[in-house]
């Protein structure tokens, strides 16, 4: 089975592009994507499930007589697609006109994403993998059995993703990426029969970099560490957030800088551009162009070229995320549809989580979130958390069934440290963070 887009499939996408214009669309963008995935699931050291999947999709965005619509189908036969496009154009004509809709200016479009492999995210080793090798790798990764371990679920998976975006202005933008993943969830039982679970995972675009060994052991160790939780009084503590889950506190801030939120005034960062709303110590970059780095992309969903840029620099908001449509509605220059590879720069003189714990001495180290949400309009948040009470830079005992509550501007202005230990497998490069004076309820 061919994992990558074939010349025949690419020709079909090009035909659809031309056909939509023939049928009356003044602007057309087409994204053809293909994903091949294999998965081996383990339960208690034995193969429990296997999955094999090939997905293809053709998305068509149409500008017709000042109107706009988005359509997609996974039925990639030419005759059927032609009928689908004719119907789609008819549907777009029924919508109300929108003078702000347009394709991006040609000079903003990516020019150097021709082969899909420019970012070196495709591992040729994928082509040679056999079903038996996948099974062996999965079976090698288990930590079952272990004393106290009552259930262990693991998954090895790999995939190849190939996409091509074309538009009626001549855009040709391809992105090809392999991914190899291992993940485990372990459940242990304490002396009273209580169950405690934890997980660990790793992912990489190159098979040789995948840490198969140690993942299951780490999930088991993290589960065991939770045995014996004790309560702590409600109050204000220094919050230290583990690099595994710290992105949870950054994502709402980045979302608040998105055009759709800002234009609808459903953002606590309305009118924030150029203002110093965060501490001097905080700098967040978009770093989308690093060779071999998961999550990097040369272009966004409109085909606009990404670039390295500060998002928040020394506390000052430097950019919104505005696509062509939202920038026109807001009367601002377009930027990029969304952040590609967020990267929080270190602050506070800490490299590792250990450094952060030694710096803050006392607090609560959060290693996992349990639900919660935030209000995009006000920035208020409340999350369930679990982790460890920290005294004199050391873990004292686990804590759980706790909540943190506050608002994001206050939280980030209380940032006291950001380490340099962001996990490359995460979509956002957010290291261990520490914030002072956070409300914990217990």
């Amino acid at each position: 089975m061919n994992a990558l887009l074939t010349q025949q499939e690419i020709a079909l996408a090009q035909h659809c592009l031309a056909y939509a214009q023939e049928q009356g669309a003044q602007g057309v963008r087409i994204t053809l994507s293909k994903t091949l995935m294999n998965l081996i699931g383990l339960l208690n050291g034995q193969v429990d499930k296997t999955a094999h999947a090939l997905d293809r999709s053709l998305q068509i965005q149409l500008l017709v007589d000042g109107r706009f619509g988005t359509f997609s189908s996974n039925r990639l036969e030419q005759k059927g697609l032609e009928e689908f496009i004719r119907d789609a154009i008819g549907t777009v004509r029924m919508l109300e006109a929108d003078s702000y809709r347009a394709l991006p200016a040609p000079e903003r479009l990516v020019k150097n994403a021709v082969t899909g492999r420019e970012l070196d995210l495709y591992d040729p080793a994928y082509d040679d993998l056999t079903a038996e090798q996948r099974r062996e790798m999965a079976l090698q990764s288990t930590a079952w059995p272990q004393p106290g371990l009552i259930a262990e679920e693991g998954e090895y998976s790999d995939s190849v993703f190939d996409s091509l975006t074309l538009d009626s202005q001549g855009l040709y933008a391809r992105h090809t990426e392999t991914s190899f993943e291992i993940g485990y969830e372990s459940t242990v039982e304490d002396a009273e029969g209580n169950h405690l679970s934890s997980y660990w995972w790793d992912a990489t675009p190159r098979l040789k970099d995948l840490k198969l060994k140690g993942c299951a052991e780490k999930a088991f160790r993290r589960a065991k560490e939770q045995i014996g939780p004790q309560g702590v009084p409600s109050g204000k503590y220094t919050l230290i957030v583990d690099n595994e889950c710290a992105a949870k506190l950054l994502t709402p801030v980045l979302n608040a800088l998105g055009g759709y939120s800002l234009q609808q005034k459903n953002s606590f960062l309305v009118d924030s551009l150029g203002k110093k709303l965060f501490p001097e110590s905080l700098t967040i970059l978009d770093a989308p162009l690093t060779q071999g780095d998961t999550g990097c992309r040369l272009f966004d969903s409109e085909g606009v070229a990404t670039r390295e840029m500060p998002v928040i620099e020394k506390g000052v908001v430097k950019t919104y995320f505005l696509n062509t449509y939202m920038s026109a509605k807001m009367g601002l220059e377009p930027t990029i549809e969304d952040i590609t590879r967020a990267k929080v720069l270190p602050t506070g003189g800490c490299s590792t989580q250990e450094d952060v714990l030694q710096k803050v001495k006392d607090g609560i180290l959060v290693t996992g979130f349990n639900g919660g949400n935030s209000n995009p309009a006000t920035g208020n948040f409340s999350y369930g958390v679990e982790g460890f009470l920290i005294k004199d830079g050391k873990k004292v005992h686990p804590v759980r069934e706790m909540l943190i509550t506050g608002d994001f501007l206050t939280l980030w202005n209380n940032l006291v440290a950001a380490a340099q230990d962001a996990r490359p497998c995460q979509s956002k490069l957010v290291p261990t963070l520490a914030f002072k004076n956070v409300d914990f309820s217990a």
Partner: protein, 478 residues
Amino acid sequence: MICSKAYYFNLFQVDENLLDSLTQEGLRSGGSYCDLFFENTTYGSLLLRDGAVTSGGNHVDFGVGIRVLAGEKTGFAYSESTSPADMTACARAAAQIASAPVDVSPYGTRNPIRGEPNPAADRYPLAQPWRGVPMSSFLPFLQKLEADIQRRDTRIVKVIVNLAFQVSDILMYNSSKELKWDTRPMGSVSVSVVFQQGTQTENKSTSRSFRCGAEMLSDALIQEMAADVVKGIDERFAARRPKGGQMPVVMGAGASGILLHEAMGHAFEADFNRKGTSIFADKMGKQICPKGIQIIDDGTLAGNRGALNFDDEGIPGQKTYMVEDGVLTSYLHDRISAVHYGVRPTGNGRRESFRYAPLPRMRATYMESGTAKAQDLIASVGKGIYVDEFSNGQVQIGEGDFTFYVKAGFLIENGRLTMPVKDINIIGNGPAALADMQGVADDLAIDPGAWTCGKEQSVPVSCGIPTVLIGHLTVGGE
């Protein structure tokens, strides 16, 4: 909606001989059971933003998922083509799970459920279709709803109205020669409104979702949703964060059913119990909450978002009592777990699409009414909190710790609702909360919102509950 067998066979270009040969292909390596799940889903959407319906589209998703079981082990593959060659390759990929014959067979192998689907028993007949109708016919609904909302409050600065509908044609066949078919509609309307009062900004949202046709787009729905989305905005602007900590919580009727979904429902899904991870794994037949309480998961509520004529394994939709008179009486089963526990499947084998193997999942989960009065439950609390508007929840199956996010509620002081509160998370432990249920009112309501459960896959569900009092939950605050 249940169409003729010929409709589905023609749509997927199959016949019974082909279906049978595919299941045989799936079993060629020694598997004990094979099933096929064909799906043709068409989606449509319209978005009103800034006063105009300027965005919309259609989407098609078509394919077949093939599952092979070898005992409790699952091999799964899918194809976006229903050509015999592609489906055969897919069946061979799924067959690889079985390296040797096994003697454990899933439910149905020895007791097949025969018989054709009965259109007269359809739980979601369509009075007005979604498909084959010009999208323009739906525009006036969105425009009228937006206008009705705008006229209700001068503080409104933004309104978004979204209409989403889908219709899924489903054909299921398995190696026990059970053949079932179904066409499942779903219509959803959601509204999001931003208000400004001086320098303060607040948002509110509401949604309605049903398994029905376009007849749901009525003037009555416009009035109901417009009133709902502006209701309580004064309190929202006045709301404060409460002082956090452990306290009694009165959960209002309806959307508070999220408590049942998160605190209990997931822990009752039999796959977690089969694997030994659920905190309820050894509680079958035991008293887990006060006498008089009944907790149900129901696929039989006509037009409900969780309604099913058949689940995604071809098991007839049914009503399952999980807790009777406070005693845990049933988990929620798919075919695999039913055999593991030696019981009949409960019709909870569900999947997001043909791209996923089924898992035990909830449908409409609710608690039957009790005998107390809601006002009496509130009056019995000296210092606590009342909550009735939520956005999302989560649970840790092993530990039983659950949370849900409260968009709006009130403090209870000396038996009366006082200060409005908002944007707080509440956390508790499932077994502890069940045992700590101190009162159940007589006002069961099923929430009509667009609830979606995200356990590995997204499936539509609904929830409901009468007003209940729980003695101790931890409330986020300052």
